[in-house]
Symmetry: none
Subunit: 410 residues, 2 copies
Amino acid sequence: MSQPTGACPHAWRHQQQHRGRMWATSRAFRRQLVLLRSLLPSPPTPPPYSFPSVAGRFFAPSCSSPSSTPSGSIRASHAMAGSAVYEADAEAVVRRITPPLDRSRHKGQAGKIAVIGGCREYTGAPYFAAISALKVGADLSHVFCTKDAATVIKSYSPELIVHPILEESYSVRDDERASVSSKILTEVAKWLERFDCIVVGPGLGRDSFLLDCVSNIMKHARQANIPTVVDGDGLFLITNNLGLVEGNPFAILTPNVYEYKRLVQKVLNCDVNEETAAEQLTLLCQKIGGVTIMRKGKADVISDGKTVTQVSTFGSPRRCGGQGDILSGSVAVFTSWARHFIMSNEEPKEKSFVLMQCRVNPMTLGCIAGSLLLRKAASLAFEKSKRSTVTTDIIEFLGKSLEDICPAEH
Amino acid sequence: MSQPTGACPHAWRHQQQHRGRMWATSRAFRRQLVLLRSLLPSPPTPPPYSFPSVAGRFFAPSCSSPSSTPSGSIRASHAMAGSAVYEADAEAVVRRITPPLDRSRHKGQAGKIAVIGGCREYTGAPYFAAISALKVGADLSHVFCTKDAATVIKSYSPELIVHPILEESYSVRDDERASVSSKILTEVAKWLERFDCIVVGPGLGRDSFLLDCVSNIMKHARQANIPTVVDGDGLFLITNNLGLVEGNPFAILTPNVYEYKRLVQKVLNCDVNEETAAEQLTLLCQKIGGVTIMRKGKADVISDGKTVTQVSTFGSPRRCGGQGDILSGSVAVFTSWARHFIMSNEEPKEKSFVLMQCRVNPMTLGCIAGSLLLRKAASLAFEKSKRSTVTTDIIEFLGKSLEDICPAEH
């Protein structure tokens, strides 16, 4: 991916529009349309390339779209290139990617998730992420954390498998660092390939030795093509070491307003510009190279550098800490399901992951579904507990929220 | 028991059929019929040797039975040799073996169970097994685990008695191993004979020193004729050291699909063959020598090398981790109850355990009852919590499930 010389210049925008036109006439775009159509409950027969009328089942133009675009490949491709934001039909996404509950399935087939996080200081965040994964419907949820954190996280719930593997600087002598770091990687690597998705960051803290170890784990996960949701202190880590996610189509970043600001400053060397927010987000994804970013806020805006979609269903006015952790755990499960859904609904010859960027992006679908579910659950929890709503209350409504959208009858 | 020269050969099958015919005319078979009859709520007077019409109260031919067998000792004995699978009348089994609640009883008389498991990594599994034993109706439930695990397991529930006795390699110096191992056995042995049944394996992990210590505990339990349910990492242990269960009629193995596959490969030196599944399971029990195996799956199929029965009541499509632990704890309680029921309903001269293999096998009854109860509880939990059902939700329904089958009024 060639880099623009400055942040958001006009030249870059024109170049992007040209690329958008190229994209709209490409085989990859056609394939994406076919796949979008395959996701629809009852396939319509839209005119070719009329992006909104097809993708509109998932992505309806939102208020922040610069103009309504009834049809036309150029406007559509322009939208694909990042200047229009489509409101996702998030309920349809949830319904389509959530796997049916099949009596013949074995333990693990509905998803195995791991959270890398939890240190001497933080234990709630990794617990929230990991238990949310189970409550959304994963079969197994692991946490890899420090010894200090492990006892506490285990005691929150017997449902989680908690590995007291990580170490912080205070517990490791300087001359032991290399060997301890290598041992940690070996221990985690034994498990990594079993997971459908990992979440890096909840309650990770900022200890330099711990972050070095987690960098190694992220590199290993990337080599194994394991989707990786990066949140919280994981975003601090990758903002200072972009190489960890650069060019990784399996990486999902979920920054909040502050984390997004730091990311934009670091990567685009400018401040967040709300007037060109969608373009800036697209550009950010492209400059990091193929990652998916969900910018959390009043609406959660999601881009993979090609499409920009948002989920703006109202959740709750309570802003208690921990909701981001629910989101990261939920996105991990939905991303696994979306990958499985897409893999099992396409031609065998297209199963290679190198085509990922030419297809409907399961990372985007995972973000859309996770965002909606959190918002629904937060809304129900607020209705019940009002100002005293805490994260645990919201987690208790994940099941009902999913059931309301996508009943588990089988 | 003579060993077949290869896995599942025709010669072996014919030999088994011959043995089946011998068995059908034997005193032992007659004794088994008498005992099956004694388990019936209102004893009928069936024609002698018509196995299905008698055992049909507990074991109705299932869909996987090769053919319906209205009567006839040969078909029946053939079934006994393993080629037909009878659906257990599991509700009748639960009703008959569950002891009445008698005001004159003392603490401990409804069952004392111990779980050997729980290490630095796993704490949920032994907790699930031990708390399930209590929720089914045992009076006392102990856990023997490592020091690291003990604090956490204690924190899950004040109901359990948790012994921080086991050690893992990392906490024992090489020169201390023999003395630590001996001390551990002495500590556990003090308690062992008080238990009606032990469960070996939930959350045991795979540390070599720990597994060596647990091998010693298993040998001791065997000498004391204590029924032993082997699950999870306990199955890993015995698959690599079959001597621990060989020829032990008090051993119950509860493998899932992967554990069963490894066991078949190790013992029969072949792959799992679904077409001859019942015969293969029978053969596996026979080759290990007298153990009872419950092969978990869509239906739980149970054999002690003579009969093959199954429980296929539908439970839940959720496959969250931990359900196997509920099952192992429940089977432990029901096996204790079944043993007590049989011992108190037969002629005094038959009370010797050496006749165990000639009688209705309490291990089989324990498996049938445990399987049904888990399935009922999982079904109720799923009805309530749908996709967000976790193991704790299922445990909460063990009591209601048992009450529905077998009300505690007295």
